[in-house]
Symmetry: C2
Subunit: 115 residues, 2 copies
Amino acid sequence: MAPVLPDEVASRLKRNADGLVPAVVQDSGSGEVLMLAWMNDEALHRTLTTGRATYWSRSRQAFWVKGETSGHHQHVRSVKLDCDGDTVLLSVDQVGAACHTGARSCFFDELKVDR
Amino acid sequence: MAPVLPDEVASRLKRNADGLVPAVVQDSGSGEVLMLAWMNDEALHRTLTTGRATYWSRSRQAFWVKGETSGHHQHVRSVKLDCDGDTVLLSVDQVGAACHTGARSCFFDELKVDR
């Protein structure tokens, strides 16, 4: 594992004031959007070099390998950077529930749209 | 159109220091993740009451109705709030390209994953 994120990736990343980018996580099979988490450079580096989705927990201020405690691992199929470098999209093989509530996806609360 | 976001939605939103939440935008047909943008309360309110995806442009500090200038409208099928209220997921009928580069999706730059 290389010690740091390659320059060609690091130079394109546009981080927020806390040094983070949002990571959108999508199920590789169903296409369902499962969750959104946050990554700093090192979390992205670990994700790219291990194939295991690794985030930065803003509440705990610590790295967080998805599934490490829950067993609900995310095996990373692909990682894409968006056009302006401020968001990444992970396609993952999700083991079990992505959401800490036990739901498959964190997005289960539908709001009413008027048309 | 009600003048403000309903209390039962506003009370669940967890905004960042700038009063914004990220909005993940997914194609209602293909499931492709198209882009990520940002909403304040009023942008979410406008989205829910008009069915037209409306964001807050951080660079221009202004509301931004997707497609207003490009013609690449997003007709909103559904809006979901995530389990901790800090992200929304839009399912949209996308007219044309979602990305300002002309690409269908903003996520076209695949990074190398080692496994």
